[in-house]
């Protein structure tokens, strides 16, 4: 069981690291839409790795099935929520910061 413990340890730690990276990204990114990209690292790799790590700990039990259902819930709802958020932002006139041809981010002309 020590192998499983080490694997869980690695997976959960890696998931935590990706959550922190996503959070740092949300602070570093310049505008609304680019911040959403940083946040999507959290609910894909971050949450995913943590759930897989916890499934290894609980083995073949109901808890594992619940964790799988939790994963599926995130898998289906997070893109829907992200899309709704981005769509609402655009509809209400949030201007995405777009890169010009030199590759530097600059404000977009409407």
């Amino acid at each position: 069981m020590i192998v499983l413990d080490i694997l869980t340890w690695l997976l959960v730690s890696a998931g935590g690291v990706f959550c922190v990276i996503g959070a740092v990204g949300m602070l570093r990114m310049p505008d609304f839409f680019t911040r959403m990209h940083a946040a999507s690292v959290i609910d894909t790799l971050g949450a995913g790795l943590i759930i897989v790590g916890l499934i290894l700990q609980s083995g073949f039990t109901l808890a594992s099935l619940k964790l799988i259902i939790l994963g599926l819930l995130i898998f289906f709802t997070s893109p829907t929520a992200s899309h709704a958020l981005a769509n609402a932002a655009l509809a209400r006139g949030a201007e995405p910061l777009l890169a010009d041809d030199e590759g530097e981010p600059s404000s977009s002309p409407r």
Binding site: F18, I21, G22, V24, G25, R28, M29, P30, D31, F33, T34, M36, H37, A38, S40, V41, T44, L45, G48, L62, L65, K66, I69, F75, F76, S78, P79, T80, S82, H83, A86, N87, L90, P96, L97, L98, A99, G103, P105
Partner: protein, 160 residues
């Protein structure tokens, strides 16, 4: 409504109930089955139990599409993470319109959700057969415009 779909709905609901409850006494199992039956009846009366509400026909294709999608998610999440931790923050945010080739709303939603689920690209708006995509980098936008995912979702949809 096919009886096959009803059986699948009731089985899914009951399985979900069992997993959530974790009790296996005959009384509670019967209650669960009755609840699943009641929900099936409600869903039938509300007419929401069609190919969109319970798309069982996509079941077998999911086993080939989801692993590929998972691989793409991990790859692009890694790319976005590298961009975030890089001191220069090498982003080039881009908006692109991409054509979709899916025939059904379920297929289009699958494609739009797949784009959003992949870090670095978000589907912002859908109109007709076009999706407006916001990408974190120019390469990411190019990747969506290449249409590999579009072709795979259309294959997943399994009509053409």
């Amino acid at each position: 409504m096919s009886p096959y779909r009803s059986i699948s709905v009731i089985a899914t609901l009951f399985l979900f109930w069992v997993v959530m409850s974790g009790y296996f006494t005959p009384f509670l199992l019967t209650m669960g089955l009755v609840s699943a039956g009641a929900v099936l009846w409600f869903a039938h009366r509300m007419d929401v139990m069609d190919h969109e509400g319970h798309p069982i026909h996509l079941g077998k294709n999911a086993f080939t599409y989801w692993p590929w999608l998972l691989k793409e998610i991990v790859k692009s999440a890694w790319d976005v993470s590298r961009i975030i931790v890089s001191p220069a923050l090498p982003i080039s945010p881009t908006m692109v319109r991409v054509k979709t080739t899916q025939k059904t709303p379920v297929g289009q939603v699958t494609y739009a959700n797949s784009i959003t689920l992949t870090p670095g690209t978000i589907s912002v708006a859908i109109s007709g057969d076009e999706i407006l995509v916001h990408a974190l980098t120019r390469e990411g936008a190019q990747g969506v415009a290449d249409g590999d995912m579009d072709r795979r979702v259309t294959a997943f949809e399994g009509l053409s």
